[in-house]
């Protein structure tokens, strides 16, 4: 009798439990669907209208996209800057972070101190990062360090130094250096955790087979790190697409620092109310973002299947 009852308890949830579980999942899920996914869909919907914030919606088909691709000068620079950001992160910042992780993974005296130092910029907000680097980039008379250094060492005279943040040809590079300063430590920590989880016997086996450190990393460690590698790729891509704060604090994303994210808010919130048009850009950003997101989800699905 008792065993029977226990068994039932064990395998079947009471009605009250079921309701409780449904609330636990249902309430946050509903809020999340409304505030995140429904809003993303509304952006897509609005991109087919010429809505400016008042009056009824008026559908205009692909007109906004047509204007975006052919008639709106800042769009292609913004898209190019986003891709440049991505390339810079993928080709320079992320590999630097991985390199630091590999170097600091060895038994090294003071490894923890080095890690702490490289990681510190990650806890700063990007707005503060923007301020801190403005102090590096400002001109000599404005007390900027880089220009003062160039002048003091005689590389350039004080009035011929470039205007790092003001010159639209170079300011994106200056910002990328500042953003990488923060990104490198982030990647380093993620990658270090991955390296620590690699089974040490794999490395021992490789060493016995006569592989040197580089060969071991390329042929043994890197492949078994596949899950972390996906995370690194996703983090890098998403961070590049989200880039906003640092350029906004420097010049509101103008004059060489245009990004899709700043164009969206500038056209539909801060400066104008061209909501239909801003939504078309938001939709472009959404489509691009779905690439890494789908990659990540497939990864989760596969690991869930195993």
């Amino acid at each position: 009798m008792t065993t029977k009852r226990r068994k039932r308890h064990y395998s079947v949830l009471t009605a009250r439990d079921k309701v409780l579980l449904a609330i636990m999942v249902g309430v946050p899920l509903t809020i999340f669907l409304i505030l995140i996914w429904a809003m993303a869909l509304v952006s897509v919907l609005w991109s087919f209208t010429d809505w400016q914030g008042i009056g009824p919606l008026h559908f205009v088909g692909l007109q906004q996209y047509n204007y975006l691709f052919t008639g709106y000068p800042p769009f292609w620079p913004a898209l190019t800057h986003n891709l440049l950001w991505l390339l810079f992160f993928v080709c320079i910042a992320t590999p630097c972070g991985i390199l630091l992780a590999v170097l600091l993974d060895r038994p090294l005296r003071g490894s923890r101190i080095y890690q702490s130092i490289f990681f510190t910029p990650v806890v700063l907000s990007l707005a503060v990062v923007g301020f801190i680097w403005e102090l590096q980039y400002s001109p000599v008379a404005g007390h900027g360090f880089i220009d003062s250094l160039l002048a003091a060492t005689g590389v350039m005279s004080a009035n011929s130094t470039p205007n790092w943040l003001g010159d639209s040809k170079i300011n994106i590079w200056a910002v990328l250096v500042a953003a990488s300063w923060r990104h490198i430590g982030y990647i380093m920590v993620l990658y270090l955790a991955g390296l620590k989880s690699v089974d040490p016997s794999l490395r021992e086996a490789a060493a016995i087979d006569g592989a040197n450190e580089r060969q071991t990393f390329i042929h043994v460690v890197f492949p078994v790190m596949a899950p972390i590698n996906v995370v690194i790729v996703v983090v890098t891509v998403i961070e590049s697409l989200r880039a906003f704060d640092i350029v906004y604090i420097i010049n509101h994303g103008k004059n060489g620092l245009e990004l899709l994210a700043t164009l969206i808010t500038n056209t539909s919130l801060s400066e104008a109310s061209l909501i239909g048009f801003g939504s078309a850009m938001a939709t472009v950003l959404l489509v691009i973002s779905l690439v890494p997101i789908v990659l990540y989800l497939t990864r989760i699905m596969r690991s869930e299947d195993q």
Binding site: H9, Y10, L13, D17, L20, L21, M24, V25, P28, L29, I31, F32, L33, L35, I36, W37, A38, M39, L104, Y114, P121, V123, L124, S125, L126, A127, F131, I132, L135, P139, V140, A141, H143, G144, F145, S148, A152, L190, A193, S197, P227, V231, F244, D245, Y248, I249, A261, T265, S268, L269, I275, G278, S279, A282, T283, L285, S289, Y296, L297, I300
Partner: protein
């Protein structure tokens, strides 16, 4: 015989010397790099301590010799702006948002990871994928929605969600729940089932199992996530910039946008402001470094 031995011996000494040289090279490289990484922060600190009069118009810029170093810039920034109000705003937003996020995501993760039902994976994916979306995609509709939602008086002083602490807490909690649910459900899957089974056999209900059995077991993960969430929400610039009018309700990080206009002609005060805005997260990081890093790595441990 002895010849081969000497040769072998020489080779090891040679190898050892080479390895030692490469080790020293590595230390030199890492130390130089560490100094380069620290430099922008140290320079901001140094600039913040210099009187403006010392550097204004000085042709040597950063290399002009400081006559004095003092805290005057900090006093000026403190007196010239409502910093204490901005810090308070940050606390009012960040602390409830962190607690709410942990509470909601731990329940969600518990329900998803401990009970098998049909839409488990889909729910998890909705949260994880949503958390990865750039916030700029949803900001315009969200802003309009916040202007539409009526909120009664004690929670809102203008009858809306817009320009309210509540609105910020809501979007932070919602957005961060995605990440935390993912991390916590992975963490819960690694727990042994025995305790939960024992509690079930004792006839414990779902809520008791959640609150008395699972929650204590995930405490390390909660501590790590709390640290991480605090820093992330403290550092938020975007939501607070867009969902508050440019008034005194903004938290410190978003307030930097208003303050930069007031101080940007004076680099020494800009530096003092940056240092003050950065201090809370840096201090927290120095004290709780272990938690902070384990929070990040928990999130990536299982792709």
């Amino acid at each position: 015989m002895s010849g081969t031995l000497t040769m072998a011996g020489q080779q090891t000494t040679h190898n050892r010397a080479r390895r030692r040289a490469s080790r020293i090279g590595l230390y030199v490289f890492l130390t130089v790099l560490a100094l380069i990484f620290l430099w922008p922060m140290l320079y901001a600190l140094y600039t913040s301590l210099r009187p403006y009069g010392d550097i204004v118009g000085n042709a040597n810029g950063a290399f002009s010799t400081p006559k004095t170093l003092n805290l005057n810039n900090y006093f000026n920034v403190w007196n010239g702006s409502d910093l204490i109000q901005y810090y308070w705003n940050t606390a009012v937003i960040t602390i409830p948002a962190v607690l709410l996020t942990l509470w909601i995501s731990s329940m969600l993760a518990f329900a998803i990871s401990r009970y098998k039902w049909r839409f488990n994976l889909i729910v998890l994916m909705i949260f994880t994928a949503g958390n990865l979306l750039p916030p700029q995609i949803i900001i315009v509709p969200l802003y309009r929605l916040y202007l539409l939602i009526p909120v009664p008086a004690p929670l809102s002083d203008n009858g809306l969600m817009y320009n309210q602490f509540l609105g910020l807490i809501l979007i932070h909690t919602t957005f961060q729940t995605g990440f935390c649910t993912f991390v916590l459900s992975n963490y819960m899957k690694t727990l042994s089932m025995e305790l939960v089974e024992a509690a079930m056999i004792d006839g414990a209900g779902v809520f008791t199992i959640y609150a008395r059995v699972v929650l204590p077991l995930v405490r390390p993960a909660l501590a790590a996530l709390a640290t991480l969430l605090f820093v992330w929400i403290y550092n938020d610039f975007f939501w607070a910039l867009m969902l508050f009018e440019s008034g005194g309700k903004r938290p410190i990080t978003a307030a930097l946008n208003n303050l930069s206009g007031a101080f940007f002609t004076d680099p020494t005060q800009l530096a003092a402001l940056s240092v003050m805005a950065a201090i809370p997260t840096i201090v927290l990081y120095l004290i709780l470094q272990r938690y902070f890093i384990s929070g990040l790595t928990l999130g990536s441990a299982k792709g």
